[in-house]
């Protein structure tokens, strides 16, 4: 019970942080921000790793494996895509200074 309350506490605080952490976002970064936060939501990879790596049954192992694959795609693809998008407009930013 106490453990659960701790988790809940953490959850509530994290939700608050999430609400507050972004406030004014210029439209230029809407998509990269979305994409970056999408990559972060691939955190479920941790669960997948544990499920696959500590499976107690074959079914669980394969479900876990599938989860690992999908979550990794999400994470790797997500960060890489975000980076590409940003690269595009870093070019523009440099242009401004030049």
């Amino acid at each position: 019970m106490e453990g659960l309350v701790m988790l809940l506490t953490v959850f509530v605080l994290a939700v608050f942080v999430g609400f507050e952490v972004i406030s004014k976002v210029p439209p230029t970064v809407h998509t990269p921000l979305m994409s970056g936060s999408n990559a972060i939501s691939g955190i479920t990879i941790l669960g997948a790793v544990i499920a696959a790596g500590a499976a107690v049954s074959t079914g669980m192992r394969w479900l876990g494996f599938a989860a690992v694959v999908l979550a990794t795609i999400n994470v790797v693809g997500g960060f890489a895509v975000t980076h590409r998008m940003l690269g595009m407009f870093r070019g523009k930013g440099r242009g401004r200074k030049g």
Partner: protein
């Protein structure tokens, strides 16, 4: 130790998101978040109790390869659907982890299995499945592999959605009472899948990014729920972070696109807004209506802004406010020019009188012929209460009554913003195709009020 590293990762995510929300710092922000993820994954692999490392590594290798390839070879124009796809995978992964966990519960046959994780499993399955199917629909829609780009709306949709949601809840309750694979859990997942589809199909192609953002928030919530399932701090923090910030971002994007947030939340936010009290013919075409904050951000980021005033500036007596806005922008290093069309206003030299009154230096005033060649290199044109003099139909549409009149080539600029009160026509009484171009943002309102609002928004950036 593991949790400490997770905390570290979470901090990286928080700071990463913060950095990502400003163009200047977005790149390091993304890297920081990625580093956090790396730490979390490696920590889990090493001290997370992983027994069967090979299979995990195999999965990671496979996923990393596919992810990298997808990221590398998707054309820049297809980014939104790419995000949708990846997001769907994330949701699916959460659901799968929940499913695996269910199997563990089933496997150990431990009657004492706490009620909370079971509820969490049901929730993770539900949310994960909705995220997955919704994201897939969004993906297909954007790829135009599905139903074209048009929204599908039908009567009673909200009622149906509600019904399905209740059915999913019922299935979840049945499952919670007996947490093992079976009809209940299959039903749950199936219903959730359908629900995801239904939530997304009523939404038009142009509004997809908002939906993807919302689904992204859902996938965060799915991850957090999964965290409760496997009692994992990292998942809870990061998932809820993404869940919450995703909702905020969705809200921000809704505002920027002039959409109702509640409509998005509950699906079916329907047809694009029709442009105010627009002309009859116009109502059919979509316009992009912006607000002062959004416009201010674009203006502030521009290198060159050309202001094209017209009769509306005079009517609103907005000249002082416009000058103030220009001053604010200049202070921030933006190059300001005024493009004066020879017949702007209602008398020769109308704009000159007003701008002189507002002490705009003569050097910033450009005649049409001087400035027209430079619109191509202009970041933003701010059209203030001008209409006929910026009407591209004068160049392209031989049937237009103003065909042949030279006009300001504002549409060549990267972004065009138009301040006026409505889509009503100007002196010549004709519609203006400029307003419907993709690089045009309409700022509906009285020119003076809007200029004041813009100046204030620029100041508070």
């Amino acid at each position: 130790m593991l949790n400490l590293l997770y905390l570290l990762a979470a901090v990286a995510f928080i700071l990463g998101l913060k950095l990502l929300s400003s163009p200047r710092t977005a790149v390091p922000g993304n890297m920081l978040a990625a580093a956090g993820m790396f730490v979390a994954v490696v920590a889990t692999l090493l001290i997370g109790g992983v027994v069967d490392l090979p299979i995990v590594l195999a999965g990671i290798a496979a996923g990393a390869l596919v992810g990298a390839l997808l990221a590398a070879f998707t054309p820049m124009t297809a980014m939104p659907e790419m995000v949708a796809l990846l997001n769907g995978f994330g949701g699916a992964a959460s659901a799968l982890v929940a499913g695996a966990e269910m199997l563990r519960v089933h496997g150990v046959e431990d009657e004492s299995f706490a009620v909370v994780p079971v509820i969490a499993i049901a929730a993770a399955l539900l949310i994960g499945a909705v995220t997955f199917s919704g994201s897939m629909v969004a993906f297909l829609r954007l790829r135009e592999w599905l139903i074209g780009g048009r929204a599908t709306v039908f009567g009673g949709q909200h009622l149906l959605n509600l019904g399905l949601f209740l059915a999913a809840l019922a299935a979840a309750v049945v499952f919670a009472r007996d947490p093992r694979p079976g009809a209940a859990v299959y039903a749950l997942v199936a219903i959730a899948g359908v629900l995801g589809v239904l939530l997304v199909i009523p939404i038009g192609g142009a509004d997809m990014p908002v939906v993807i953002c919302l689904l992204n928030s859902y996938s965060g919530i799915a991850a957090a729920t999964t965290g409760f399932v496997i009692n994992n701090n990292g998942l809870i923090i990061s998932g809820s972070l993404v869940g919450a910030s995703g909702i905020i971002l969705t809200n921000i994007m809704c505002k920027a696109m002039n959409r109702s947030f509640t409509n998005v939340l509950f699906g079916g936010f329907g047809a694009t807004v029709s442009g105010g009290a627009g002309g009859a013919a116009a109502a059919a075409l979509p316009v992009r209506a912006g607000d002062a904050e959004e416009a201010a951000m674009i203006l502030e980021a521009a290198r060159s802004v050309v202001i094209a005033p017209g009769y509306g500036m005079a009517v609103a007596q907005a000249q002082h406010a416009v000058k103030e806005l220009a001053d604010e922008l200049e202070k921030r290093g933006v190059d300001i020019k005024y493009a004066i069309h020879p017949v702007a206003g209602r008398m020769p030299g109308h704009m000159n009188v007003l701008l002189a009154e507002a002490s705009v230096p003569y050097e910033q005033l450009y005649e049409m012929d001087q400035i027209n060649p430079s619109f191509g290199e202009t970041d933003v044109v701010l059209v203030i209460g001008a209409n006929d003099v910026v009407n591209p139909a004068a160049k392209t549409d031989p049937s237009s009554p103003i065909y042949g009149m030279p006009v300001l080539d504002v549409e060549k600029a990267r972004t065009v913003m138009v301040i006026k009160r409505s889509l009503n026509p100007g002196f010549a009484g004709i519609d203006n195709p400029l307003y419907y171009l993709s690089n045009t943002m309409m700022l509906f309102g009285d020119a003076k009020k809007m200029a004041v609002a813009l100046a204030q928004a620029v100041k508070s950036l």
